[in-house]
């Protein structure tokens, strides 16, 4: 695998959407390529940032109870 191939597959790697063969090929490339390894860490960090920024809004307890009353 070369750097352009790695870049092309990086998002799918971070999203755990590659098959086992692709994962092994990409991991092998990352071990020998500091630039791509840095890029991978950045993309994974960015995905975590988006998740943690957006998943802090929990449904209010009163709303859950209201729904429970309505639905059950």
């Amino acid at each position: 695998m070369n750097c352009p191939d790695c870049k092309d597959k990086l998002d799918r790697f971070v999203d755990r959407e590659l098959n086992n063969t692709e994962v092994l090929e990409l991991q092998l490339h990352l071990e020998g390529c500091p630039d791509c390894s840095d890029h991978y860490e950045f993309q994974a960090h960015l995905k975590r940032l988006v998740k943690h920024s957006c998943d802090c809004d929990a449904a209010p307890a009163a709303f859950r109870e209201k729904l429970r009353q309505i639905l059950t």
Binding site: D11, D15, L67, T72
Partner: protein, 191 residues
């Protein structure tokens, strides 16, 4: 409303996905009251169409599909209301920061406030916003996201790719405006 044990069990299982639905509704409507209305309506519809849910399949994706379809039907009119993304080209934040000498690049991410990330996500057009919500926030696989959105996996991937590029561009612009990075020196981006 419910009487039978099966219906009760269905409602209880559906409620385990409340946070996902509420967060999705909140990001789509950008209004807590509208989000609650949307989620409540989605649950009522889910119960009404309980027979169409296939046991053993992904209930979270099924519920999200009901919720987002209601959003498009009732809160936003038709899908034509969705506006397309700006063409930001092949914007890769990592490469942009590296070109500008910001090392380590990830330090820039640590200095971006969560509220700015939420704002950047909410600025995305809804069709692109919802795929980011499913894949990045809720951890859906592309396949489950495709099921929830009623589109092919390839569409999920292309929307996600474009949404992420726009998101990275928004975060970069914020980083420049707030002085986290100095911005490019070619005159293209600095504020």
């Amino acid at each position: 409303m419910a009487e039978s044990p099966a219906r009760l069990a269905f409602a209880e299982e559906a409620l385990t996905h409340l946070h996902t639905l509420y967060r999705g509704a909140l990001r789509l409507t950008r209004d807590p009251d509208q989000a609650q209305d949307l989620v409540q309506e989605a649950y009522l519809r889910a119960l009404r169409y309980q027979h169409s849910y296939q046991t053993g399949t992904n209930m979270k994706a099924w519920l999200f599909a009901i919720m987002r379809n209601l959003f498009w039907d009732r809160f936003k009119g038709t899908r034509k209301d969705d506006v397309s993304l700006d063409d930001v080209g092949d914007f890769v934040l990592f490469e942009k920061l590296r070109d500008e000498g910001a090392r380590p690049e990830a330090d820039v991410l640590d200095r971006i406030a969560a509220s700015e990330v939420v704002s950047a996500v909410e600025t995305l057009p809804p069709l692109h916003r919802e795929v980011v919500l499913l894949v990045d926030v809720e951890g859906f696989s592309y396949k489950d996201a495709a099921q929830a959105l009623g589109v092919p996996i390839g569409t999920v991937m292309s929307r996600l790719h474009r949404a992420r590029q726009q998101l990275q561009k928004s975060l970069y612009d914020y980083a420049v405006e707030s002085g986290i990075v100095r911005g490019s020196t070619n005159g293209a981006t600095p504020q």
